[in-house]
Subunit: 155 residues, 2 copies
DNA sequence: TATTGTTATACTCTATAACTATA
DNA sequence: TATAGTTATAGAGTATAACAATA
């Protein structure tokens, strides 16, 4: 009963609007690259080489799903499966040159073109940043996968 | 290239953490009431009577999905279908006494117990509120459904 | 025996299309 | 004819379980 209303529209309700707008933004981004949500989430993690197991863990997917996702990225030439010579069970996932290019573009677009904060002045964005940083404390940054969950809107 | 970093962790990345935490919060809430995400989203809209068509529109679902969702809420005694006497095609959805009780509890829990902002002082929450309000502008408040999208986590 | 990845399968969420009852 | 709701069905996203290869 303390954390409640700061005005008529509650803080939590504002966050709903923010989330909604972020979602639209992220879905529009990945659509531009013709990536599905799981594909995009996976690719964004492959700025460093990972085993499929590690990737599953990052994305909080069951490992069984990684096969098909990596298959599709590999078919598009964005990722390569390399057999780890030190343990021939594991597939080391490495982004190709093209994969890294797409990854970089997508990441920049996701981060920089978030439409939400463009109405704020620089000092206001800095304030917002500080407040959110304090609010989240030491929570680790999550994967973009959170933003991609749920179906792509029809519309 | 203007809306970019305010520090090393970008604003957009902070939002990911915030949204992730919100997501966990909402899913934990609805699990306590043994509601699925679509059930919860629907129930939260039934603080006023709606036709199934109107409910579908609010939730941005295709109308065909409403049948099963309302069926399950009706079986639990949370919602009643009343045939509109002025147009016998439409089913007027009305929350039962129990439905309204659950709705109220759920809504309060969602709004008040958001864990994220409890580390902020009152004045900081007010600041955050003001900044977000400016950022979102005149965007209409969305349904909670946005927060519920995606599968419930296993774990 | 334990672990990586694969396959088969099932379940949930959502959309599309065809149907019915009513208007 | 058009609209509200229902049914059947399809597709995407995910999880579980059994299996093969390797450790």
């Amino acid at each position: 009963m303390e954390v409640v209303a700061t005005s008529e529209v509650r803080l939590a309700e504002l966050m709903l609007v923010v989330l909604d707008q972020f979602r639209e933004h992220t879905h529009a981004c990945i659509a531009q690259f013709d990536l599905s949500a799981p594909q995009a989430a996976a690719l964004l993690r492959l700025d460093q080489a990972l085993s499929q197991r590690e990737l599953a863990s990052c994305l909080k997917y069951d490992a069984s799903n990684i096969t098909a996702i990596v298959d599709s990225l590999a078919e598009r030439g964005l990722v390569e499966r390399q057999i780890d010579p030190s343990d021939r069970r594991v597939r080391r996932l490495v982004a190709t040159t093209e994969g890294n290019r797409v990854l970089g573009l997508l990441r920049e677009r996701l981060l920089d073109e978030a439409p939400l904060f463009q109405t704020l002045r620089d000092d206001e964005r800095a304030q917002l940043h500080a407040l959110l940083a304090k609010a989240v404390g030491d929570r680790k940054p999550t994967a973009w996968v959170e933003m991609f969950r749920g179906p792509r809107r029809s519309e």
